[in-house]
Each structure stands twice: as structure tokens, then as C-alpha cells.
Amino acid sequence: MNKKKENIRNFSIIAHIDHGKSTLADRLLELTNSVAKRDMSQQILDDMDLERERGITIKAHAVKLDYKAKDGETYELNLIDTPGHVDFNYEVSRSLAACEGAVLIIDASQGIEAQTLANTYLALDHDLELVPVINKIDLPAAEPDRVAAEVEDIIGLDCSLAPRVSAKTGENIEQVLERIVADIPAPKEANDNAPLKALIFDSVYDNYKGVIVYVRVVEGTLKAGETMLMMATGAQFNVVEVGYMRATGLEPTDVLSAGEVGYITASIKTVRDAKVGDTVTKIQNQAKEPLPGYRKVNPMVFCGVYPADGADYEALRDALEKLQLNDASLSYEPETSGALGFGFRCGFLGLLHLEIIQERLEREYNLDLVTTVPSVVYYIHQTDGTVVQVDNPTHYPEQAVIDYCEEPITNAHIYSPAEYVGAIMELCQERRGVFKDMKYITTDRVDIHYELPLNEIIYDFFDALKSRTRGYASFDYEIFEYRRSTLQKVDVLLNGDIIDALSFIIHSEKAMGRARKIAEKLKEHIPRQMFEIPIQVAIGSKVIARETVKAMRKDVLAKCYGGDITRKKKLLEKQKEGKKRMRQFGTVEVPQEAFMAVLKLDGDN
């Protein structure tokens, strides 16, 4: 087969959530006959149920399309779909690094949103050629002219040729393909004879083939039978198969050459051996330098994950193991809680990542879970000069040995209609935000820049932001430094016993307020029991908030004669069923909802 490198176009699609990325991808597949129309279930690229439901892409996906353009040439289009969320920024950046261009979708009614800009800047960082596409022109509220002007003003992209499409109805989709061919350059310096350098932009675990490594070959070639080397991890593998990703499945080929996007299988057991961002080369004729940009991804948010039923511990471990096969950024290690029994301390890239993993565990593995309050990683400088990293309140050192603490701070950008500026600033102030800047993007849209501590974001900041702006604001953040802070560990005591799973680390100014809310929430959610239960929230031995769950007064079956015994037995059974949803702490029973309620403290605002 004669491969014309000048006919290759490697591109991704970037957009704010819900601006129609996956739908557009589906239309492109359809139009290039990559998949028969009758096989199209909506949004082929998002193949996880969860992705489809939430309308976000969690994993990168790639697919090769053949397009016969109006100039008579057939082009090889490699579409690399990127994860659509700030938690996966690093993965996005690696996917973009595999491309020469990107299709930037903007919703014709909503205009530019937080992630439109964040992704645009990422794309520009990688010198990508941008093809603006204005989508959803079928909507009654669509204002393509206004949005086009917004894109020209804010991003500085010429929109005179920007296709105005409806990915939903299919209108003008062909224009998108024509612009890709015309505007996005073919791979540069794609030399087949140079030593192999291929960028890993994703890897997935397959039960039969082992890990399937998705790569963009920058230089050189790779064939089955050759020995490849992962330059960052040093792992070596014998290549079993190389090929292309088609919408209908994998298509093996003889050789992957420079400029192409494809896959490699090599009996790799875990995705950790094929890290996103690593460079693949060959043992023979090894590349001198890896491709730039690899970094080790560290989890930023931690929480304890426990099976609601202790008997499910093994099942939870198996499930985490399986999820990790496909998600190198998920970390977990066993931990024991006095309150919750055996479970795992899990690390996540961010809150969304946490929620996704939790939901997958519950849905795909049918596990009923209890999670603890999420925590960020704090640096605790001790009086003896050592520094400990603490992501679990249980491991927080004694106050006496702490010299000072540092917490992660983010640069946060909130994009919103101007009318909500007051509400947003109030929220950021409450969350210890430091105002940096505010820009009017248009006459009625603003970009508010705050420095926000990450631990303020992980307590339902998204929900609070949404409810205070009626869902109109969008939000993007990035950790940029650790900053000195006054922190305290706060414990919750029920009937005098510390419930370790409810302990948390918090800025000292916020301790009192949160303590009160927690005490109130627990009072609300802990049912009356046989005796009075004091709820105390304390720093060390100092109680800063207290409530009392009153004793139950009466729970009795007054008459129990011959005909009532079976009924009474059934009542007893029902009682036991109800108890399964309870956690036993000493003599106190706490329903699982109480834990959840403590996690969603600000939902009432």
C-alpha cells in the first residue's frame, strides 16, 4: 500500500462539556462510511455507559477514517478524542501532542465557556492548527453570528470560514471534513528512517490481547516481532501486533510508520507499563532523547472507600484491581478504620475522577460503598525539620510536633454571565479565595480569576457554584503551588467515641462553622436510639460544637397473643434488614446516609 504522508491528518476535537463533541465525532464517522449507519448507536466513541450518560469522555479514544475529499484525493484522518474534564488535563495534553490540529467546537447559543478556553490554550501550547466549528445551529436560541464574533474577539481565530453545523441533524458536516483537510497540516518531519519515537497517548486493557497501547508515531517505524522499549519506565516488550483503530474494531497492519496513529500489542499485563506520555522506541536503533512532556501523574484527592457490607471487601479489592488495569492514575492501598472496618485509601486526579470511580464500582461491580470525606495532600513541616505528606486525617501528627503546614492552592477561573459576579465572589470569599482578576469577555460575560485552596474546592464547590448561578457558570482550575496555612484536625465523637471515618483536616478559621454544620447534619440523620447520644465535634480535647440525639421514647408491640407471634417475628426480620444499612459504632448505630450527608454539607445553600 502506498502511503502518502501528505494525506495524513491527525486531529482531535476539543470543546466545553455538552457542546457536542461526541455527536460531531459520530457524524464524521458516518460521513466517512467508517461505520454503517444502522450500527450507529449514538456516540460510538464514548463506549462506557457512564461516559454516555454524563456526556463526558473519560478515556481518550482514537479512530482512523478514510475521506475522499472534493479535490479527488483520499485522506487518512486520525481522530483522537480527548477526555473532556479538568481532572484529566494531562491526558488531554498528551492527546493533543499527538495531533497537528484540533477542531474547536463552540455551542451556537452558549458561546465560549471555561473549558473552551482552557482547551484552546492547551491546543495553542502544542502549536495546533485550530478549526473553529459552530455547532447546534438547529437550536432556537442559536446565535452563530454572535458566537463567531465572540470567538474572533476572545480567541483571535478567524471564523469567516468556520463551518456552522448541527451535529445532531447532520447539517454542513462535510464542511468540517473539508476544513480539516485544507487547514490542518500533514505530519511534519515524518522520517521513516530515523530511530523510532512514538508517543503513547492512551492505553486500554483487553482481556485477550493484554494492554493495547495507542501511539502516534513521530519518527521511525515499528513492526510485529521487534523489541520495543518504554523510555520512561525502561520496560521492554516483544511487539505482537501493530495496526489501526477503526470504528468497527482493530485492523492489524504490517508496519506503523512515521506520522501515523495506531496501536501496539505486546502481551503487556498492566497499563502501568504503558504510561500515557511515555515514548516508545526500539532496542535496535534506539532514540537518543524521548519526546518531551512526560510526567508522572500524582493523585491529588484522596478518600477512604469501604464496602457497606464488610463481606464485600474482597470483591472491592478485585474491582479496584480491574479498574486500575485501565486507569493508571487510580491508586489504592488497604486501610482499616475503627468505624468502617476494612477498606482502601484511594487516590484520584480530582473530584470528578473520584465520582466516576465510585460510580463504576457501584454500577459495574454492584458494590454498595461508604466513602469518607475527601482530602487533599498536605505538607506538614514538623519541629524536627522533617516534612510529612498527609492525605488522611488519621495520620495527622500531634499538634505539638507541627511547625507549620502547607496546602495546595489552585488558579481557578470561573466563566459566567455578568449578573452572577456578586454571587460568585461571595462564594469564593467563603472558600478562602484570593481575588486576582476579572475580565469582561463580552459585555455580559466575565472571567473571574481567583486563587482557591484545593481543599475548599473538593467540598462540593461545583454544586454550590451551580446552584448560585443557576447552572450558568463554568469552572476550571489548576494546582499551582503549596502555600503555608493554619490547619487543624477535627474529630467527630458519638457517645464519647471518636469516629475516625468522619475526621477531617480544615483551615482553622473554618473549623467552627463546619463543626456546627456537621453536628447538625448528624443529628438530623441519626435516628433516635435507645438512649441519648451526644454528638461532639472537637479539636484535640476541646469540643467546639455539640448536639444531642434524643432517646427514642416508645417502640413496643403492646399486644402479642397467639395470633400476633408470626407478625412480631416478621417485624423483627424487617428490623434486621434495616440494620444492614446501619454502621455500628460501639453502641451507636449510624445510617450510611449520615456519612453521605456530611459530605454534602453545603447542598442546602
Partner: protein, 335 residues
């Protein structure tokens, strides 16, 4: 009524093959047996005597004080009835009316006098706690009446409004005492009755020494019984079952419905804990050949701190405060 009597006799004759034990109590209850008539009750007792082995039986009849007469009690007494249980519910007229009872305290006093005349002095009355309009004061009035009456046994039930009862629909319009008040009423009743010599022996039952209902004790000691009549329950040879509820079908072709196994360790403990005597290790061993799980005693000790339970080497029993929470406590101990 005679076709009903026939059906009852038929059942008694048919079931005797299954009953190996001697009979020591008979109870006519569930509705208004007094409506059934003294003669028929005599016939049933005779039928039992013919078919079963009776040993100095306690024979109780539930009756409505307004529908009794000298003649009525004379026949009962002759038939061998030696215990009468009368529904009073309250000694306060307004409360009684709200509960749909018509007979007044004078009728009860009259009935008690008639019973004495015919040599029946084992008399039980009942009262309700937490009825609409009831206060501590009015409760005391009822208790005063009970104490001053020459009776041996008292049942005191906390009103529970259940779905399907007439009260259920109109409960919002009723001035019901709140749970706190009802709990206080209950503890107050236990205390006052004890002071008057009526000792609590079950959650809702009180008796002068030696006058506990032998019949009802069988239920709470998880012993077997035979019940005859529409929706009458039985526990026989390890099986629980009941007669179909429909009156007409009971007359034509009575049949029973399976209600599961009976007599498990759990069931035994659940019932034993309703009694003031509580769960006894030795009695349990006599019945099941082993001691009850020690965990029950350990858990009980925890609750003892809160005054809900009393634990000795041999027994676990609930206090009156514990009885108020008995559903929760029994669930907890048997968890």
C-alpha cells in the same frame, strides 16, 4: 349460631389426633363470646372434655359487661368457667365513648358482683393508655377504679393506631397524647399498679400474685396451643397455622393456612423477653439442650447501664423502661 357450634365441635374432634399434650387452659376470646351464649360455651367445654385430657384447667371467657346477666354467669360457672376477662378500656365516660364502648363503670361493678355471687373471683379488666383526650389525671381516675374493684388481673395497652382501623383515617383530628406523655403514662401505670399489689409480669399485663393468665403465659413461653374458629391461630407439633378468616367458609368447610415453623430459639427468646421473668439460661437449656448465646448477655450488659435491662448470672429481663423500647431492644439482643 348452631351451625357455627357444629363446625367448632367438628374441628375439635378432628384435631384431637394431633394433640398429644394434656390441656390445662381454655380461652374463649376474639370478639364477643358472650354473644355466643352460655349454653353453647358449655357444649364446647363438654366436647373438649370428651375428646381431650383436661388437667385442672383455667377456663377464661372474654365478655362485654353490658350483655351479662345472673343467668349468664350461672351457666358459665356450672360449665366450669373460672376466669372472666372484661373489656373496660377506661373508667372515664368521655374516653370510653371515643373508643366506642358503651358500658359504664356501674355495669362493670354490677358484673363483678354477679361473678362473685357465682364463685368466679378471677376477674380481669383492661384499660387503654394514650386514648384521645386522655390526661394523667383521667388516667389516674381509671387506675383508681381498677384498684378499688375486687379483681385479680389487669391488662394495660398503649393505643396504637393502625392502618385500616377507624381511627387511622381521622387521627389528625384526634387530640392524642404525644409519645412522651404516653410513655410517662405507661411507667406511671406500672408503678401505681405495683403499689396496689398488681405485679407486672408481661409488657401489658399485671396480676395479683398467682393470678397471672396461665393461658397467655403459654404464648409467651413459646408453648403449643390449638385455636379453633375463623382466623384462630394454632401452634401444634412445631407448625404454626390458622383457620381461614372467612366466617362462611369456616361453617361449610373449615381449612387451615400454613403460617411457618414455630418454636425456634429466636422465637423463644423474642417471646421470653416480653415477660418480666425474662430469658432464663436454665429454662432455655431445658428446652433446647444448650445455653443461649452468650452474646445476648454481653449486649444486655451494655443496655443495663441505661436502665433498660436487668442482667443476672441466670437471666436477662427488660425493665418497664426497657419494655417501652422492647421492639428495638429485642432486635438488638437477637442481632
Amino acid at each position: 349460631m348452631d351451625s357455627y357450634l357444629k363446625a367448632v365441635r367438628c374441628c375439635l374432634e378432628e384435631m384431637k389426633a394431633q394433640v398429644k399434650d394434656k390441656i390445662d387452659t381454655i380461652y374463649f376470646g376474639g370478639g364477643t363470646p358472650s354473644f355466643f351464649g352460655g349454653e353453647r360455651i358449655k357444649t364446647v367445654i363438654d366436647c373438649i372434655k370428651e375428646n381431650y385430657e383436661l388437667v385442672s384447667p383455667e377456663i377464661t371467657v372474654e365478655c362485654n359487661p353490658s350483655s351479662v346477666s345472673d343467668e349468664f354467669f350461672r351457666i358459665h360457672s356450672e360449665a366450669g368457667v373460672n376466669r372472666i376477662s372484661m373489656g373496660m378500656q377506661s373508667a372515664v365516660d368521655s374516653e370510653r365513648k371515643s373508643l366506642g364502648r358503651i358500658s359504664g363503670t356501674e355495669e362493670i361493678e354490677k358484673a363483678i358482683a354477679l361473678l362473685k355471687k357465682h364463685g368466679i373471683d378471677n376477674i380481669s379488666l383492661d384499660i387503654m393508655l394514650g386514648v384521645p383526650g386522655q390526661t394523667m389525671e383521667s388516667l389516674n381516675e381509671s387506675i383508681d377504679f381498677l384498684i378499688s374493684s375486687d379483681i385479680k388481673h389487669i391488662s394495660a395497652y398503649m393505643l396504637k393506631i393502625e392502618e385500616g382501623t377507624p381511627f387511622y383515617k381521622i387521627q389528625d383530628s384526634l387530640t392524642l397524647p404525644d409519645e412522651d406523655t404516653v410513655s410517662k403514662m405507661y411507667l406511671h401505670t406500672v408503678k401505681r399498679l405495683a403499689e396496689a399489689g398488681f405485679l407486672q409480669y408481661e409488657i401489658s399485663n399485671f396480676a395479683k400474685d398467682g393470678f397471672e393468665s396461665r393461658h397467655n403465659l403459654h404464648y409467651w413461653r413459646d408453648e403449643e396451643y390449638l385455636g379453633v374458629g375463623p382466623s384462630a391461630h394454632s401452634f401444634l407439633n412445631g407448625k404454626r397455622f390458622y383457620f381461614e378468616r372467612n366466617f362462611k367458609s369456616f361453617l361449610s368447610s373449615p381449612f387451615t393456612i400454613d403460617d411457618g415453623e414455630g418454636g425456634s430459639e429466636e422465637e423463644y427468646i423474642m417471646l421470653a423477653l416480653r415477660l418480666s421473668e425474662g430469658l432464663s439460661k436454665e429454662r432455655f437449656k431445658e428446652r433446647f439442650g444448650r445455653y443461649p448465646d452468650n452474646i445476648i448477655f454481653e449486649r444486655a450488659k451494655e443496655l443495663e447501664k441505661h436502665g433498660l435491662v436487668e442482667v443476672t448470672e441466670e437471666t436477662v429481663s427488660l425493665t418497664p423502661e426497657g419494655f417501652l423500647l422492647s421492639n428495638t431492644i429485642i432486635g438488638k439482643l437477637l442481632d
